[in-house]
Subunit: 242 residues, 2 copies
DNA sequence: CGAGTTATTGACGAGAGTCAAACAACGTGG
DNA sequence: CCACGTTGTTTGACTCTCGTCAATAACTCG
């Protein structure tokens, strides 16, 4: 669901986090960069989806609210990702900045015209849609059949191995709050917290403040994620933290 | 995730269940019809996805197996639906016939060429992909935050209100087994069974054999499905049993 | 440094899973 | 057409994971 853009990236690291490279990115190049403060919304569920967004910096969460206020985070998106690619009418989610973000905006009309026009962009767009769907299916599996620990490990694995993420001595930044993680994994904040504590006890990770985790044993984390052939090819090319 | 094809359908009821109408269907017209016995596989997870399929008759389930044999059904597909639209490399699921089926097959290569060629088919295809993703997100919400009863009611609602389904005096055919339903809803067979029994006690549905349910109180079912504005527009145009 | 927020930990309970037995539906063959 | 075996479903008793509620601790920011 996220990192969608990234498999196609050339990802030349430009010192800072590299963002360019995805051919769809070129569409957003000419748009002005907007700044979104952490916690602020980018768009609202139910509103007409008149724009798509590309994140050039920061992390964004997409969520839906059901009935009595239960919140579901359907995806996290990172620098380089496009938000709203699969919308046809209204926004099906509210997008909010997890951290301070920089984004670019493109009208859906223009986006569609450009896609229609360009023989090059079209396959890139279709490919993106396909990967979004595939990612959503991965998340279905997680929510359907994995226990709390497996969910958390899957999440951390994806964060740790996502393109554009480089772990310096295993240090992983986790920008989202426990509540965000819980709502993404279909758990409660307490269960997320306990699961992290258990991993810490077993010396698989070492928490460092709220938003940093030192990954001591990535291989073990992969095993615990409950994926069939953990940490082999699959974990990599299936990619997406989504 | 499923019924994807159907929103675009004109769905003229031809006495039997109508299947034609979706513009993508035209692609499969020239292919020979194959017969697949109930329980038999149409394609396997991990194999190269060389074909797409259209179901012309019957019901199909898509599933993935995780680690120690846990099965997740990611979607059910019905007559008119296209299976495999969002694949790029390998099949990400095994497709099996729930009932005896008739299907048509089209090579992915040819499909892609035709899509590229036709100004008409392309938006239809993109639209299909978008709806697949949107449907997957609906299922994320279900698996993430709904309890057993809500899951079951959501499922029955979608079955009952899906395009191409006409309830005669509330009689709903449920072709899939309890195990299928359980694996689709992220529950066990026992929990599904108990949930149905409870709905029956409350006279909301009346079971009739294994594969029939008389829906006595559709409105109540909608309320219990835990969707915000149940049974109003949303339930309908969001559609998809998926 | 201190108020407010976010995270951790513990005690407890509920909802769904597990195991096992009884039961109903279906298909086959006599 | 009915007996019988097979398979799928229902129901009950029990267990366990995760959710709930509540208290404490850690971080953040003015």
């Amino acid at each position: 669901m996220l990192m969608q853009g990234q498999q196609a990236f050339e990802n030349v690291d430009l010192g800072v986090k590299a963002v360019q490279g995805n051919s769809l990115s070129s569409l957003f190049q000419m748009s002005a960069t907007e700044t979104v403060e952490a916690g602020k919304a980018i768009c609202w569920e139910g509103d007409a989806a008149r724009h798509l967004f590309q994140i050039t910096e920061g992390v964004v969460r997409l969520h839906r609210i059901i009935g009595d206020g239960r919140r579901v985070i359907t995806a996290f998106h990172f620098a380089g990702d496009v938000v709203g690619s699969f919308l046809q009418g209204d926004f099906l989610f509210t997008a909010e900045a997890v951290t301070d973000c920089k984004i670019r905006r493109l009208s859906r009309k223009q986006f569609q015209e450009e896609i229609e026009r360009s023989e090059l962009l079209r396959p890139a767009y279709i490919s993106l849609l396909c990967r979004e769907t595939a990612s959503a299916h991965d998340q279905l599996v997680l929510l359907s059949r994995k226990n709390a620990e497996e969910r958390l490990c899957t999440f951390l694995m994806k964060l740790a191995t996502r393109d554009g993420e480089t772990l310096h001595q295993g240090l992983l930044e986790v920008p989202m709050s426990r509540q965000d993680i819980a709502d993404y994994l279909g758990l409660t904040i307490e269960t997320v917290s306990r699961s992290i504590s258990k991993l810490a006890q077993r010396k698989i990770v070492i928490p460092d403040g709220r938003h940093n985790l030192r990954i001591v044993n990535l291989a073990r984390l992969a095993q615990l994620s409950g994926n069939v052939d953990d940490f082999s090819d699959r974990t990599c090319h299936r990619g997406s933290v989504h």
